[in-house]
Symmetry: none
Subunit: 288 residues, 2 copies
Amino acid sequence: MSNGITADQLMQRISEEYEGLSKQLKVIAKYIEEHRPTLVLERITDIAQACEVQPSAIVRFAQRFGFSGFSDMQALFRDSFAPAQGNVNNYQKRIRTVIASQDTPLSNTELTQSFLSACQQGLDELSQSLDPAAIDAAVELLYKAENIYVVGVRRMFPIASYVCYALQHTQKRVHLISGLGGMYHDQVRSIRENDLMIAISFQPYGRETRYCARVASQNKAKLLVISDSKMSPLARNASTVLTVKEGTAFAFRSMSSTISLCQALFIALSYRLELVIEETQDAGAYDD
Amino acid sequence: MSNGITADQLMQRISEEYEGLSKQLKVIAKYIEEHRPTLVLERITDIAQACEVQPSAIVRFAQRFGFSGFSDMQALFRDSFAPAQGNVNNYQKRIRTVIASQDTPLSNTELTQSFLSACQQGLDELSQSLDPAAIDAAVELLYKAENIYVVGVRRMFPIASYVCYALQHTQKRVHLISGLGGMYHDQVRSIRENDLMIAISFQPYGRETRYCARVASQNKAKLLVISDSKMSPLARNASTVLTVKEGTAFAFRSMSSTISLCQALFIALSYRLELVIEETQDAGAYDD
DNA sequence: TAATTTCTGAAATATTTTTTTCAAAACGCC
DNA sequence: GGCGTTTTGAAAAAAATATTTCAGAAATTA
């Protein structure tokens, strides 16, 4: 009974009609969307279990979209499966040649693919160049500090603000040096011995960050630096330096490695603090 | 009964012992070697038919190599399929077992490696699931908008702030809805037709972001949503939805894919605007 | 070539997986 | 709050799939 439709078209229809589905069918729709690649392998019972519904609900879902049953729907995914492989590599090759022979302009997707592969490379390199001693030291600094000041400007401000967000999930007092109102000075003023400053700075090493780091070390606070080189101007006074070399494409530096390292650091800290990570359920009231 | 072997090792053994097999089993061995990628999808009868043998012959084949039956052997291929890359998985498995058998605590580096590999997976998936039409549409929205409002709260605030930072490098007027002073309402108020709102929101879909998106669509502005599902509550009013499935480790979602997608989007926009990207030298006076 | 062993095909049986059915629960509407 | 409708859960029934069995065919050996 399968209507001569493609898997993509089906996904399209599912998302179009999502709002009109019952609670249970919504759960299933989401699951299907999120697990589309592995869907061919899963049995109806696997999916049912994952969605915490009865197998019959899955059948009802399939029927709701015009299939005779689950098997019928699965056949669709099975068909659209085979030609999925080998695509990625071709893409990469294609891009390399297109770039080499500056003739055809790049499509948005090609640009994106190309940048994503730079991100991958960056992560790869980070993963390979991890310095266990530095990481241990960093985690230890975090563990011991009760007050943590975080600074990063311009390109690195998002990272700094993420670090703050994450650290708010611990018992520590966390201070984001945002520079709001130009008040860098006022925001670092109160740092002192036994406090920790996390300074995130890459070339060309923002002046404000350097200033804050200087104040921190003048006040004898600990300094954890996240930067692109052990020789960065910030490294001099640092208790520990974590280095990250980001991937680049089109003269544009990725940020995936830096943010991933920061997240990893937080995970390691949580583990050390024996915190249960439940990032999903934050700030109850706001998130309904 | 499956011997703790990998799919590769099995293939190895099959080719080693090939000569000693009966005529029928040789046919099956060949078939398996040649169709390894699709093997997970095929039923015993499919294979039997393709080899022009009885299903029982397939079972005998599996048993000949130490499996309890066909299903058992297929499970091996199934396992070696989903998690794709070997390196990554071993790590993940290792960690899973270490966690399960609470004996040795994980080192910080192990935690970090493991999380980084989740990030990689996320990027991988993003790269494979890119929807060219959606990306084109997103770039077009950006290209056409003169005023761009960006909103993302809590976990997604860093992303939103990065998007703003990047867009400041174009001629467009960019407004970050920071909620500073609780003034979400006041910050979106002035959005109107022909403006664009970029809303970044993942489960559990922050209330503030939903509010802003609603205002945007009430005011007939365009809405570009970056989210984890086409069925997210924000998607309903969106002009375009870009979906990102992040990798997870330790119940912790990575952010690398989301930020990379945003960066890629910016690159594509710059390309469209024929901008030369020189992110390195920004804001002269401040940096150095 | 006869005896013995190994291999094969077909069908019976067992198992797993999917689908259907139906009663109970939840929901929406007066 | 009662009534009809829709949704859901559980389990029975059906279908699909895998495994075992066994008799006969091929191959091997003496």
